[in-house]
């Protein structure tokens, strides 16, 4: 907690009559702003808001009684540095046997073993969710490892598939169509409505991937 707080430097764009889209400089500032929103909500000092939806470089606040008033108040905010008081990272055991592993290795210009080493060495953070309940967009690899989506999306990607697209890593919570480059599979249950919380990963969750052998029994429980 030694880093100092920074002044809020976002731009608040009105969205309809009841929402604001707050645009920030980069992913890090977005995370700091989102963390501050959650901190203030927990402290009871945030105006009533129905949804707080972080994304790549924005946070949407939906269901505000007075968006313009809130936008004006934001200009006085200070943002503490994020990530200083977090719980342990969620560990996801992965069999790195995805059908696109070789293609990702070729794009990165490394061996398949090196893809696994790079992916398991990185510390990820859930920047935002979307696409499907429980699907998190994980940052941590950095732009130099960005890969394009597949030209033709697969019609069915199995649940638990670990994929890459752009600078993000994601894990499919259930079987669905998808265009991400698949590098592996996890047995972790990403989404279970009978569990509380239903989502294993939510915005701000830190994540590490660990490599497991083919049978995948190791580390099955989170």
């Amino acid at each position: 907690m030694t880093a100092t707080a920074r002044a809020y430097r976002g731009t608040a764009l009105p969205v309809g009559d009841r929402a604001l889209l707050v645009e920030l400089a980069d992913g890090e500032e977005t995370a700091a702003f989102h963390a501050e929103l959650l901190r203030r909500r927990a402290a009871g000092t945030l105006p009533a808001v129905r949804e707080i939806v972080p994304a790549a470089r924005t946070v949407l606040l939906d269901g505000l009684a007075d968006p313009a008033g809130f936008a004006a108040a934001l200009r006085t905010w200070e943002l503490p540095p994020p990530g200083s008081s977090r719980t342990d990272a969620v560990s996801l055991p992965v069999r790195y046997d995805g059908p696109d592993l070789a293609e990702v290795a070729a794009r990165w210009g490394v061996s398949e073993e090196e893809v696994v080493r790079i992916h398991t060495a990185a510390e990820f953070r859930v920047a935002f969710c979307g696409f499907a309940p429980g699907f998190g967009y994980l940052t941590g690899l950095g732009e130099r490892y960005a890969v394009p989506r597949r030209a033709t999306p697969r019609t069915a990607v199995p649940a638990g598939s670990v994929g890459l697209a752009g600078p993000y890593t994601g894990v499919y919570p259930r079987s669905s169509p998808g265009g991400w480059q698949l590098i592996g599979t996890t047995d972790a249950v990403l989404w279970d409505v009978s569990r509380d919380p239903a989502a294993l990963l939510s915005p701000g969750t830190r994540v590490r991937f660990t490599a497991v052998a083919g049978d995948g029994h190791e580390g099955k429980d989170r």
Partner: protein, 290 residues
């Protein structure tokens, strides 16, 4: 299962269980969902003595047919349609008693798209994340009804109030959707914004619970780059690469990467949900985001 249940004899084109939706979980990728015409759902529930947000059935274009196992009060609202009990016509928009075992038919919409069948006690499927709504985008809640589906009903709460006469809504000859520009109107050319505010679009037959798609002049972008994914609200008018405005309805994705040129007032979305394919649509700019 108790005898407080009904059997679906004819599911119709698309009949789903809907209440007022799921809130507070958009950050996990959970859509809001809920009835596309909330005033119609609320009215139906009032007519049968339910809380306004009780779960009812939302039909699409050609209604549905059910047979309750016990005597129930029902009311059909939303898109006007013929209603029959045991083959005899009964009132639309009023509380009607259906005897145990009698067949209740909700006929094809005479105008509009979505009718609501409210049933005394409400549909008592297990809530998921605080709502009984079917969410077609992410597959939460009960699956769309199929012939033979049996749905549990809740206990009747209080006697149905005397039925008011409900005027059947006239079909919208033209849909005027009031919008506020932004947040990404600056991604479009000035000419595109003039077109958006003045052209007549038509409701596309590809519309569904996720979005009201339109056909008409494409909107050209001034910014050609990629927009990083951002949060999406109900009523957002997203413009995909084909340039045709798409209005997000209840089952819309919670984040998206195409620019939102404007946002439709929530009060106008119930009418939008009742517009049949081919209906002319105008976007009426009533304010600007910035």
């Amino acid at each position: 299962m108790t005898d407080r249940a009904l059997t679906v004899l004819r599911a119709g084109a698309l009949t789903t269980v809907q209440d007022l939706g799921r809130y507070g979980q958009a950050h996990l990728g959970v859509p809001r969902s809920g009835a596309l015409d909330p005033p119609a759902l609320r009215l139906g529930n009032r007519l049968v003595g339910n809380p306004e947000g009780a779960a009812a059935l939302e039909t699409t274009l050609n209604g549905c047919t059910v047979r309750p196992r016990h005597t129930v009060e029902v009311a059909v609202t939303g898109a006007p349609c013929g209603v029959a009990v045991a083959g005899r016509p009964v009132a639309w928009g009023q509380s009607v008693r259906v005897p145990a075992g009698a067949v209740l038919d909700v006929g094809p919409a005479v105008s509009g798209v979505r009718s609501y069948l409210a049933i005394g006690g409400g549909v008592a499927v297990e809530p998921v994340l605080g709502s009984r709504s079917t969410d077609l985008l992410s597959g939460l809640g009960p699956a769309p009804l199929r012939d033979g589906t049996v749905l549990a009903l809740g206990p009747r709460g209080r006697p149905a109030p005397p039925a008011d006469a409900v005027p059947a809504p006239a079909p919208p000859a033209e849909l005027a959707l009031r919008v506020r520009l932004g947040p990404r109107d600056s991604w479009f050319t000035a000419a595109a914004l003039r077109t958006f505010a003045s052209a007549v679009y038509r409701v596309s037959s590809a519309s569904n619970r996720i979005g009201l798609r339109t056909e008409g002049p494409a909107l050209d972008r001034a910014v050609t780059g990629e927009l990083p994914s951002e949060g999406m609200v109900l009523g957002a008018v997203q413009v995909p690469p084909d340039g045709l405005p798409l209005v997000f309805l209840a089952d819309h994705p919670t984040t998206g990467g195409y620019p939102v040129v404007a946002v439709v007032r929530e009060a106008d979305l119930a009418t939008a949900a009742q517009a049949v394919p081919g209906t002319p649509v105008r976007f009426v700019v009533v304010g600007r985001g910035r």
